[in-house]
């Protein structure tokens, strides 16, 4: 398999997800290029968070295939057909993806540093001193060098979320998923988290997918906006185009509603 930058980093091909009789993602076709930053927006229940969760393998998909760097995520090719993959394949491909959650999900019984060392040591097999070094560097990058030995409960929401970003980065993912990472924060703490994401975007060749309600940030940060409605991408485009001249009536309605609310 030859890989070049023309191969999408992530590609959803006809992906469907149902909860019982409710179809939350309906035959999604969606490709994200290497290093591209895409913001997923849309009303709640439109399926945007499910897209991230399927890619992180937190949700099983009911149809279609997700490709990561030209390789199927939950399938393997055998005899020209795609069959469900085993846990080993899943873990290998999943290693390229990192995720930051709305509610941080830090490990409460570990310090900030230990939170960032756990996976590199147990999954990548890094020796302790090396994992500690990497964790300290990343905590420094997110502005928390002085909080290394603090437990999550001793940190503010914004600080916890920055630890969570450092923890995900410690696994050196190629794709980072941000699931409403500022939604659970007090308003005055949103900025510090967005600044870290900005810095990441500027300094690293990371592909980023973010579900967000911060329209201002999406507009300034993303290369592309995808508007979800009822499990489908209703409209997508470059931020200037998308926000300046939305073509779809539903998009216009949604933007009017969220921009009015601010």
């Amino acid at each position: 398999m030859t890989l070049d930058r023309a191969t999408p980093m992530v590609k959803f091909a006809g992906v469907t997800k149902r909860y019982g009789r409710l179809t939350v993602i309906d035959g999604l076709d969606f490709a994200i290029a290497h290093g591209e930053k895409v913001a997923l927006i849309g009303p709640s229940g439109s399926g945007k968070t499910t897209v991230l969760r399927m890619l992180m393998t937190l949700e099983r998909i009911d149809g279609g295939v997700i490709w990561v760097e030209g390789e199927p995520l939950t399938h393997v090719e055998r005899g020209g057909r795609l069959v469900p993959a085993d846990a080993r394949h899943l873990r290998r491909v999943r290693g390229k993806i990192g995720m930051v959650f709305q509610h941080f999900n830090l490990f409460p019984h570990m310090t900030a540093l230990k939170n960032c060392m756990e996976a590199p040591m147990t999954v990548l097999g890094l020796p302790k001193h090396q994992a500690a070094e990497r964790a300290a560097e990343l905590l420094d990058m997110v502005g928390l060098a002085g909080k290394k030995n603090h437990y999550p409960s001793q940190l503010s929401g914004g600080q916890q979320q920055r630890v969570a970003i450092a923890r995900a980065l410690a696994m050196r993912p190629k794709v980072m998923l941000f699931d409403e990472v500022t939604s659970a924060l007090d308003p005055e703490l949103v900025g510090e988290v967005l600044n870290v994401i900005r810095k990441l975007g500027a300094e690293h060749d990371l592909t980023m997918l973010m579900v967000t309600h911060q329209m201002g940030f999406a507009k300034e940060f993303a290369d592309r906006i995808a508007f979800f409605h009822r499990g489908k991408i209703e409209e997508e485009g470059k931020p200037e185009e998308f926000f300046g001249n939305p073509k779809n009536e539903r998009t216009r309605q949604f933007l009017r509603a969220v921009l009015d609310a601010v």
Binding site: G98, F101, F104, N105, H109, A119, T122, S153, A168
Partner: protein
Amino acid sequence: MLWDWGYALEILPVLGQAAIITIEATLLGFAMAAVLGLVFAILRMLGPAVAWPVSMLIELVRSTPLLIQIFFLYFVLPKFGVTLDAFTAGVLALGLHYATYCAEVYRAGLENIPRGQWEASIALNLSLYTTFKDIILPQAIPPVVPPLGNYLVALFKETPLLSAIAVLELMQTAKILGSETFRYVEPITLVGALFLAMSLVSAALIRQVERALGRRFVR
């Protein structure tokens, strides 16, 4: 005179020896209950194909008297070619019986772990083993130490059942002393007093452990 101090002092060393057997049976039985209970609780989380037979076994053990289980292991298993000495059979029965109760306790602890902890573990690509060992169990176990401690004391107080298969623990020893001398007051009273003393001591120890865990966990 109802109480003979001379006799009481004479049998105290014998009962002290028997108390050691009681403590050994308690600790071994509880170690097995604590480990096997955790295994049961985890197996039950691994999907219906595994959970179903485990749940059946737990139900069977919990719905039958411990005394019958002790008899079963000691008298019935030999018919299937498994011969156990009385002490081993007794410890296994105690351990298995209390494992089913401990499994419930662990389950409560495991179910209290927020989904986000599992999801973060998946997102970090941790193996299932690492997830349990480093993430889930360190959070699930400290809160359930008090109820586990209660089962330790409960198991301890059920060790006299082992006298039924002639394990020379406290109760059996007291019965033998009584039948030799026809004096039951001193041996039985002393056995009761020894149980009381040991229960109080272990309850105090458990409180210490709780407090230590509380310090470590709540921040």
